[in-house]
């Protein structure tokens, strides 16, 4: 009888403990069963009035029940204290993040990196040269005759100097000569860099801009090779199929010389303002290296063949990001730069 009562208490209290939701509730359960006037306490207190054999029988069971309840309460208490109050935790995840500054690279840098990466993947080395050049490297060595209009004050920045005549390089081509003077073919280089032209600035013209020059020289490099390399480059750069066409042109440092047009990606050759309704955009000048250039660099004439090309990084950047004013590049305006 008494035995049943103990196990009933144990069962009931266990149930209550497990479903209790707060420490306060748990405390009430503890008082209810184990308090001074608690149900189990009453039984334990009554043990001494029982006959010895009954006492020996019930005593251990009741004690065991008390310990079990105590243990369960302690356990539940720990559980309850570790429980998280999700209501208190709640935040508005749609509030803005904390402001964190990250810098932005100049768009010219981004495009220059693209160009360098594509050409280095084709085995081209990156070469550099000075921005202040001698007249010889900038003009004479490149077969630009002394009375060529490019040597006019209107087109070129000349520097005051006591010794040889110095200019701000008008193209990256002097690096061709500098590189060939120090290296023998096979040559594959790409030369991105800052160049200068003494001309008035407007939305499409800058006196300071960036060119990428390429040079490939070996025993039998041909115009057909050139077309192939250009196609690989421009298709990688624009990440789509492009059409290229070569038109005749004239540069003192190449013979034959080409103008390279690419199909207008804005209008798909239909004609738009970007391509002046022609469907084509002029993107680079090029040609087969003039033998006089090899001679100037110290090679034997008619020993090697090669192609050279030069394009405007600014122009490619403007095409890539649809920038409509070249002057933004040197504006230092973060409202512009932070967009890249």
């Amino acid at each position: 009888m008494l035995q049943n009562k103990v196990s009933e208490i144990k069962e009931k209290s266990t149930d209550e403990i497990k479903t209790s939701q707060s420490e306060r509730e748990l405390y009430a359960i503890q008082v209810k069963y184990l308090g001074r006037k608690g149900k189990l306490t009453a039984i334990l207190k009554g043990l001494k009035d029982l006959p010895a054999d009954k006492r020996r029988e019930i005593g251990p069971i009741a004690n065991e029940a008390r310990n079990a309840i105590k243990h369960l309460i302690a356990e539940r208490k720990k559980e309850l204290s570790e429980q998280i109050d999700w209501e208190k935790e709640r935040i508005d995840v749609t509030l803005p993040g904390k402001r964190q500054e990250i810098g932005h690279l100049h768009p010219i840098t981004l495009v220059q990196r693209d160009i360098e990466q594509i050409f280095t993947s084709m085995g081209f080395e990156i070469a550099d040269g000075p921005e202040i050049e001698t007249e010889w490297y900038n003009f004479d060595a490149l077969n630009v005759p002394p009375d060529h209009p490019a040597r006019d004050m209107q087109d070129t920045f000349w520097l005051k100097s006591e010794k040889e005549k110095l200019v701000l390089r008008t193209h990256t081509s002097p690096v061709q000569i500098r590189h060939m003077q120090k290296n023998k073919p096979p040559i594959r280089i790409i030369v991105p860099g800052r160049v200068f032209r003494n001309e008035a600035t407007d939305a499409n013209h800058e006196h300071t801009f960036y060119q990428f020059e390429g040079l490939m020289v070996d025993d039998d490099i041909s115009a057909a090779n050139f077309r192939s390399v250009m196609k690989i480059f421009f298709e990688n750069f624009f990440e789509q199929k492009v059409e290229l066409r070569l038109r005749p042109s004239y540069f003192p440092f190449t013979e034959p010389s080409f103008e390279i047009d690419m199909n207008c990606l804005v209008c798909g050759e239909k004609g738009c303002s970007a391509c002046k309704q022609s469907g084509w955009l002029e993107i680079a000048g090029a040609g087969m290296v003039n033998q006089k250039i090899f001679a100037a660099a110290g090679y034997l004439k008619n020993r090697y063949q090669g192609f050279a090309f030069g394009g405007s990084i600014d122009r490619l950047t403007m095409m890539k990001y649809k920038i409509n004013d070249i002057r933004l590049f040197h504006s230092g305006d973060l409202r512009f730069i932070k967009q890249f």
């Binding site: 500054e101 810098g103 932005h104 000349w158 115009a223 077309r227 004239y250 932070k338």
Partner: protein, 661 residues
């Protein structure tokens, strides 16, 4: 040059439309500028390449191109009817005396005396053609000379013989000689200018413009017609020096064929007889051409053509293309022996001929072919890689990249306390703000700061670019940090540089107080950055007199930095033994810097000092947290206390620091 479609069609016999001609010339010869409908005709404007001005600044020249592209020979060479000219034998030379004093500057001079001229309007069709080509009709004589120039490329001139002494002298001008030209302006000449003169006076500025006093007027009855050839360089120098540009000088300065002189004269006589008045008659003709230019030969190797273009063009095709351009070709095995007509001054080498073959064949017909090369990995450009790394770390630290011009002006130099004599000067700057080559990137960055403060109150920017001195050109990295709400930006920037150097594996950098050449720097808030004994740049605040808000800046020599960071990274084993933290705070005398305290702690604490961290400063007191430990064992607290005691004693004794206990 502006061409008349109708005229080109007449000469070439082409059946192509203006649009087809435009496209064909654009792809095979010269860039199309624009096409414009004028009356019944179409104006085609092509940008004639500088090396082809010799032979194509004329309708005959372009018609020859059209025929060659169409695979034909220009038939209308018939307009070049020299019969009027060939009867010159019957005319007395001494009817017109021509004396060339400067053979080099005037290789050929043809003068003809033409009588019974009646000045009037020229025929409508001729006027129409001039208008389409952008030239205003004036009278029959002037119009005919212009017409012949547009047709053949030979500039002509006519003098009224009555206004001359009846003879021609080609000579250099004398210093201070003057002439009033057709533009009614008086020009002062010198020995560099070539004149057409008579026995008494200058008549024309050779090849550039006629003189007003000897010009044809309504009353003119007899003219001297000039069809000559002048040295290109001299014409160019004269016309640039005097600031004149004419259709005539435009052609002469590009060098033209002396044969054109006789073609031009012959055509002019033909047209003058038709439209210059009744009974027009040539009474004298003198052709002075002392040094005849002969055609020259080029041996062209057909294998070289194939190799350079990368396309197997049949030899017969090559021959055909060259012949249609007026070149005589004899094939012997793989060699094409070419005789070049002297109008093709541009054709001197095999490559020049290969270009002719390539462009007429059509560059689009050359198939792309990937080059065959030996496999090799390209050499790394260490400097470019390093610059890119700098850029990546700096953007990670919140810096945005700008690019500024390589120039600045006297105002920037003065404002930034720089010295003009340190600068390379541009001889022909666009404007005074761009007269000097930059020796530092900071003035450009200051401009950027001023602009961006309009829109942002907090930002960091950097630039990697060249600076120039009379000795050398260097690559510099510079940056600025602006925050209008902060009073001290120096330490923020210094911390960022530390992160940068750490990432680049640059060992201990030192900051030494700057004591010379403050320029734009704040004299008491600037330090020189050193690695070992080498100064690599500066960090500091900008002089508040130059920039309103506290602006911290740095400028570093990229190549020096690159040399310092070239070392490989090596792993240091992580210590197995614990370190303990000990704080000390102290009052420091005014002349003692943090650097001295730090170095004293390291010196006195030796290997046991594993870290020093500043965690508080207030007026003249500092609080430091030291990490004490050993790589060899776990230190006992007695050992730690002893180390601290030693450090404190050294600080107090050597630096007169008062450590709080």
């Amino acid at each position: 040059m502006k061409y008349s479609y109708a005229w080109l069609k007449d000469l070439s016999g082409t059946k192509k439309t203006p649009a087809q001609i435009a496209n064909m010339i654009n792809m095979r010869a010269f860039e199309l500028e624009e096409t414009k409908k004028i009356g019944n005709d179409t104006q085609l404007n092509f940008n004639i390449l500088p090396n082809r001005a010799h032979d194509t600044l004329s309708h005959v020249g372009l018609a020859r191109e059209i025929c060659a592209i169409d695979g034909k020979l220009l038939k209308s060479e018939k307009i070049i009817n020299l019969s009027n000219f060939n009867d010159r034998q019957s005319l007395k030379h001494d009817g017109l005396q021509v004396a060339i004093r400067e053979n080099y500057l005037c290789p050929r001079y043809i003068g003809a005396v033409i009588e019974n001229i009646k000045v009037s309007a020229s025929p409508k069709w001729l006027q129409q053609r001039l208008i389409v080509c952008g030239i205003k009709p004036i009278n029959n004589i002037v119009d005919i000379t212009n017409y012949i120039m547009l047709e053949t490329g030979q500039p002509l001139h006519a003098f009224d013989i009555k206004k001359t002494t009846g003879n021609v002298i080609v000579r250099k001008a004398r210093r201070d000689e003057r002439i009033k030209l057709l533009d009614e302006k008086v020009y002062e000449l010198n020995e560099n200018n070539l004149l057409i003169a008579d026995s008494e006076k200058p008549l024309a500025l050779a090849g550039v413009m006629g003189g007003l006093d000897s010009s044809v007027s309504k009353k003119t009855k007899t003219i001297i017609l000039e069809s000559a050839n002048f040295n290109a360089t001299n014409i160019r120098k004269t016309r640039t020096a005097l600031g004149i540009q004419t259709e005539s000088s435009y052609r002469f300065e590009r060098e033209i064929d002396p044969n054109l002189a006789e073609i031009g004269a012959a055509r002019a006589i033909e047209l003058l007889k038709k439209y210059g008045g009744k009974n027009v008659k040539v009474t004298a003709l003198n052709d002075v051409y002392p040094k005849k230019i002969k055609p020259w030969a080029i041996k062209l190797d057909s294998n070289y053509v194939k190799s350079l273009l990368g396309e197997k063009i049949p030899v017969a095709k090559m021959k055909n293309i060259l012949e249609n351009l007026g070149i005589n070709v004899k094939v012997a095995k793989n060699i094409l022996n070419c005789e070049i007509p002297i109008r093709r001054i541009d054709l001197k080498t095999q490559e020049d001929l290969i270009e002719e073959i390539g462009r007429i064949y059509g560059y689009e017909n050359i198939k792309e072919q990937a080059p065959t090369v030996k496999v090799k990995t390209p050499l790394q450009n260490a400097k470019r890689d390093f610059e890119n790394k700098l850029r990546d770390v700096l953007t990670g630290l919140g810096f945005s990249e700008v690019m500024n011009y390589s120039f600045y002006g006297t105002e920037d130099i003065a404002k930034c306390n720089l010295k003009i004599e340190d600068h390379v000067e541009v001889a022909n700057p666009m404007n005074p703000e761009q007269q000097y080559m930059r020796t530092t990137l900071i003035p450009g960055l200051i401009k950027n700061v001023k602009l961006n403060l309009k829109y942002f109150d907090k930002f960091s920017i950097f630039e990697i670019g060249h600076v120039y001195s009379k000795k050398e050109e260097k690559t510099i990295l510079a940056g600025v940090l602006v925050n209008t709400k902060e009073k001290n930006q120096f330490f923020k920037l210094k911390g960022e540089l530390r992160a940068l150097f750490n990432k680049l594996n640059i060992p201990n950098t030192k900051y030494e107080i700057l004591d010379t050449r403050y320029e734009f720097w704040n004299p008491v808030r600037t330090a020189e950055i050193k690695i070992g004994n080498i100064s690599i740049g500066k960090i500091g605040e900008l002089n508040p007199a130059i920039v309103k808000y506290r602006t911290a800046a740095f400028e570093i020599d990229v190549e020096k930095l690159l040399k310092m960071s070239a070392r490989e990274k090596l792993y240091h084993p992580i210590s197995k033994f614990p370190t303990v933290r000990r704080d000390i705070s102290m009052f420091i005398p005014i002349n003692i810097t943090y650097a001295k305290i730090e170095s004293e702690i390291k010196k006195s604490g030796g290997e046991l000092v594993k870290g020093i961290e500043l965690f508080d400063t207030f007026k003249n007191s500092l609080a430091l947290r030291l990490k004490i430990g050993s790589d060899a064992k776990t230190l006992t607290s007695a050992e730690i206390d002893a180390a601290m005691k030693k450090i404190i004693a050294a600080l107090e004794k050597k630096l007169k620091v008062k450590v709080r206990k």
